[in-house]
Symmetry: C2
Subunit: 154 residues, 2 copies
């Protein structure tokens, strides 16, 4: 469960994390209304915003912006795990894939696995994570990210 506290002493440091540990991030239900609302602001293309145009297009209907799908993953991960980690900053996301489209009415389920912890300095480590969102066990988002996390004071 996430810490609600922002007390630095309550945070997990990189030394508390374990490679191969897999986290359940919970679920998020997306509606067509929210897909259109997000995309109207951040990715205003007809395939994400225009019901009529999207119906005639490749997917036969509105599909979520990839940025929206990523934002849903980040929300789940922030609320369940990153909020309890002593995060310094995200460094990069090395690969984001969108293997299947996200449509209104879907419930996306998130998981994240720590894949590497590189202790590059005495006070911080670079933590690599593989994440994914699935709908009925079919992946709709895959990503690999790296973030700096504080180490325990010794």
């Amino acid at each position: 469960m996430p810490f609600e506290s922002t007390d630095a002493d309550a945070m997990l440091t990189a030394d508390d994390l374990e490679v191969h540990h897999r986290y359940d991030l919970g679920s998020f239900r997306v509606t067509e209304h929210s897909i259109i609302e997000f995309a109207s602001q951040w990715d205003p293309l007809p395939i994400h915003c225009d019901v009529e145009v999207a119906r005639e297009g490749f997917f036969g209907g509105i599909v979520a912006s990839g940025v929206h799908t990523l934002a849903i993953f980040q929300r789940l991960a922030a609320k369940t795990i990153y909020s309890s980690w002593a995060v310094i900053a995200g460094r990069r996301i090395t690969d984001i894939g969108f293997p299947h489209p996200v449509r209104g009415g879907m419930t996306l389920h998130g998981v994240a696995t720590v894949t590497d912890i590189r202790r590059d300095r005495s006070d911080r480590a670079l933590v690599s994570t593989d994440g994914r969102l699935t709908v009925a066990d079919q992946a709709v988002l895959t990503l690999r990210s790296e973030m700096y996390v504080r180490r325990a004071l010794t």
Copy 2:
């Protein structure tokens, strides 16, 4: 300038695009209020949402969520170029870097360069693009993306 029309005949196909062509995507000013508002919904970590905690942290103040920074890039690119391309779907984003933090009050300037056009089928091509957001010529976001774009009917 972007096409406002969604008439398929008015769209640029992959055959109209050129490798090495560089597009100016215009600018977007971000406020600390909007950073907190975005992150409260999609990346609710103290470094993005909590002024007091962020002030004591690594950056000495609120910094934008990487997802927010990516969304700003996507908004600029969608409005200036992707809206006039016959986009089928985004395939993946292969590398997103966050070389410098984004803070309230900054004006982000976007550019995108077509780096590859792979005509993999008679009716579509995979178009690769390098994009970046800069503030006073310092990069705050870099990314490489791939999307499927329709080819001209022959």
